[in-house]
Symmetry: C2
Subunit: 233 residues, 2 copies
């Protein structure tokens, strides 16, 4: 009666999020965040995507490949509860699950034709780290899946956002980035990517790998200060 | 870089749908359809479900266990296109997918405590056949996942429904069923469970395994006639 299911990825995500730190905790919160889904050779049929351009949003079922080896816990501490209160893993969207599957609603920005990789899906508002393996794409069906008045317990509302400021010392480097990268950085840091459990982090500098640069920042109260933009060597 | 993921079920669904014929093609369309998710022993922690009662809707990621062995096709013929036009499998919710994973938004009607099986999740508006293996439960997050104005191409609206009538010959047997079973039967048949590709089926009698009885029906125009209710021996 049981079914142990072996999954193979159909493709891989390329995105503006170079590391898992500062990836938004849910999709849709960082509208400028971009990604591309490159299909593996077996799935590069234009046929398999026929009609997909009629949909504005897609579901991706993907793997939490960076944390899957760490196993799971019956309870987790969601960031929005301050990292203190515990809830059950099945009442959370934590990555530490019995089966390391993620579910993400992404904006579908159309198909591009890549000379090497065939049809590539351009995605927006993603919460997926670069390199994420994808197992399925499904169209979003608003008549069945949009339930605006659903009750969502402790996760009813989006979390409050930080104000993001660019320090004078970082202004020139920040200003030299393209507009989309600047928007991704502002939106991602506004979501406060710091770990929920913090011990006297006042003044601590964090680094986030966003849009190909390392963004240094610290947080004071409700304000996030970008202190430096470092380019990889 | 790839991740071949081995999944093990966390539980199994018991539902009013005894066979895959007449299972609604999407969740939410048959509000009276009930199910129960019974967790496997390893996952019967009350801890793992802590806080889940704050949510009115849950995602289930499950396996298409009845069709998984049939493999997949790059294109499929969705029922709502009359079974003639083909769309890509990734532009559809067909069960014949490269990875046989289903995604279903279900109503969460609370926990029951089963003497043998521990905490059982009571579910509503399900589109899951009895015996479906479940790999993950995730809470529904309306602030991120309710997009009422999403474009959904050929699947923009729910399909037109049939009017369901109970023939005189079946009235007594139908009337002896409990109210919930009667509602499930009416709602499920109104969705027109017949295969999309039909060849001169006028007058053909179908049988659907619903709520423990076999419901015989035929369809004339936009009217579904229940002709008999048969109890299993």
């Amino acid at each position: 009666m049981l079914m142990d299911l072996g999954l193979r990825p159909i493709g891989i995500v390329r995105s503006c999020f170079g590391g898992k730190f500062a990836v938004p905790r849910q999709p849709g919160l960082c509208p400028s965040a971009w990604g591309e889904l490159h299909l593996h050779p077996e799935f590069r049929h234009a046929d398999g995507l026929r009609g997909i351009d009629g949909f504005s949003h897609l579901w991706l079922i993907f793997g939490f490949h960076q944390t899957a080896h760490e196993g799971w816990h019956p309870t987790v501490r969601p960031p929005r509860l301050g990292g203190n209160a515990r809830v059950g893993v099945f009442a959370s969207r934590s990555t530490y699950r019995p089966n390391a599957l993620g579910l993400s609603l992404v904006r579908f920005d159309g198909l591009a034709d890549d000379p090497a990789d065939g049809p590539v899906l351009r995605l927006g508002a993603v919460d997926l780290v670069d390199g994420t393996p994808v197992y399925d794409i499904k169209p979003y069906l608003p008549y069945a899946e949009s339930v605006p008045d659903a009750r969502a317990g402790y996760a009813a509302d989006a979390m409050p956002q930080l104000e993001v400021r660019v320090d004078d010392a970082a202004a020139a480097a920040f200003g030299s980035l393209d507009a989309r990268s600047r928007a991704v950085i502002i939106e991602a840091l506004a979501l406060d990517p710091r770990p929920a459990v913090r011990h006297a982090d006042h003044g601590r500098t964090y680094g986030a790998d966003l849009c190909g640069v390392n963004v240094k920042f610290n947080v004071e109260g409700a304000v996030c200060h970008i202190t430096a933009i470092e380019h990889p060597r």
